[in-house]
Amino acid sequence: MTTLELLAQAVAAGKAKDAKALTQRALDEAIAPTEIVDRTLVPAMTEVGDKFKRSEIFVPEMLIAARAMKEAMELIDPRLAAAGITPKYTAVIGTVQGDLHDIGKNLVATMWRGANFRVIDLGANVPPAKFVAAIQEHRPHLAGLSALLTTTMPAMAETVRAIRANAGVPVKIMIGGAPITQQFCDEIGADGFAPDAGSAVDKARALVESVP
């Protein structure tokens, strides 16, 4: 097997030390950092997301794989930065105002990073105005809104309204969280909904790639 094939396996299996060593070996073999990311790490994490989506693996396995990817990226990021290469897509993400739950939001942020999005994480309990300010500052392609509590779903609707009215940037808005449904997404005028962190990657890609 090639170094990159071994690296893909190590990431999917969540073997962080192996992933780091194999990334170093790939760099030593003069494989381009972008190739390691685009041809190996991103597809490996996509496979992880697909397995999660089908409930073949669960949150622990997904988090361990993400950690392995992170180890690899810590070696690659400085080289990408030195070459002036940045991810093609940027996303901001946060849990809406009044909701302090961040496990789901963190999982989605992790999986988006795994798909090579630049992700700006605004944290939990984020007021609509803070989403708007972050969107104006970072001009992301995508904004992700999370809510776990049914009582904070109205805050999600309010945040979508605020972004549409005030951000002045054509950003796609994605929502998710345990009580969220496609029906709610349609009702509040968000662009997309995903039922889990694996599907959130597919939906995010579809949304950002739909923009000409």
């Binding site: 009582t151 345990a178 009702e187």
Partner: protein, 296 residues
């Protein structure tokens, strides 16, 4: 005979009725979404008492303290970790005061809000200390038993149950939160019923509460699985009032009290010994449930 002994004895005699959701009841009394409900144990005790009283009047045998997010780790998100002891002790005392001799008090302990190492950032000993501190304050305030609930991670449940014991709890109830997967009902962390209940080996009463997209029919199936894996221990279920739907911009739970009462009778027929409610349930659901399962 201690009140905890009485609780055990009562559980042998008949099915017991839990209470319903606390947060939504407090919000109906003016708690703002996102505001920390525990704060009201000290700042608006009359309203917390009122919620307990409504459930007691509806027929609840068990009152759950308003302390779900009461570990120092969860309270830190509100900057209230310094008041953890006082908020938990007051929460237990309020429920105890309303319960009197008519009901038992379950001191409520929810997840600490993060993930344990190695998956997350929280060292197990830090979480254990937070659980122990909450458990001690709840017992000091007068809780008759401790309820470790809404658990997804078996390791976290095990820590919380052990912490409750360390703090001196003579009776510990532990419940997990399940969702659908192609391989049956599992927690978010992937544990099936057998695995979850193994982690709760040291609990006196085991079961499930809340859940994602679980209908009351799903809960009937879950109840049967729980009874099968409980090793003879009493089983508790506290489902939501169905799954939430959005109607004209408002989030509603469509399961009406009568339907909830009918489902409760199915759970007890499957061998469940305690039935209560989680998200979306109120005093009317508990009244219907009490009418369905309590002997006259």
């Amino acid at each position: 005979m201690t009140r905890t002994d009485q609780l055990r004895a009562r559980l042998q005699q008949r099915v017991l009725v839990g209470d319903g959701a606390t947060g939504t009841q407090l919000q109906a009394l003016g708690l703002a979404p996102g505001e920390c409900g525990l704060r009201w144990n000290v700042e608006a005790p009359d309203r917390v008492r009122q919620v307990h009283q409504r459930y007691l009047d509806a027929g609840a045998d068990l009152l759950t303290t308003n302390t779900f997010s009461g570990t120092t780790l969860a309270l830190a998100a509100y900057g209230l970790d310094g008041q953890a002891d006082a908020l938990n002790r007051a929460g237990a005392a309020l429920a105890r005061e309303v319960a009197g001799a008519r009901a038992f008090v379950l001191g409520d302990i929810g997840p600490f809000g993060g993930l344990l190492e190695p998956l997350g950032e929280t060292p197990p000993e830090v979480a254990a200390a937070a659980f122990r501190r909450q458990a001690a304050a709840l017992l000091a305030g007068g809780a008759d038993a401790l309820l470790v609930e809404t658990m997804s991670d078996p390791a976290e449940a095990q820590l919380a149950i052990a912490a409750a014991r360390d703090a001196g709890a003579a009776c510990v109830v532990a419940t997990f939160t399940f969702q659908h997967s192609p391989s049956g009902l599992r927690t978010m962390m992937g544990s099936d019923v057998a695995t979850a209940l193994r982690a709760a080996a040291d609990a006196d009463v085991v079961g499930a509460n809340c859940g994602t997209e679980l209908s009351l029919d799903d809960y009937a199936q879950l109840a049967a699985e729980l009874v099968a894996h409980a090793g003879g221990r009493p089983v508790i279920v506290q489902p939501n009032a169905g799954s939430p739907v959005v109607e004209a911009g408002r989030v509603v739970y469509r399961t009406d009290p009568a339907e909830f009462g009918r489902a409760a009778a199915r759970f007890t027929a499957a061998g469940v010994r305690i039935v209560g409610g989680c998200c979306g349930t109120g005093p009317a659901h508990i009244a219907a449930l009490a009418a369905a399962v309590k002997p006259r």
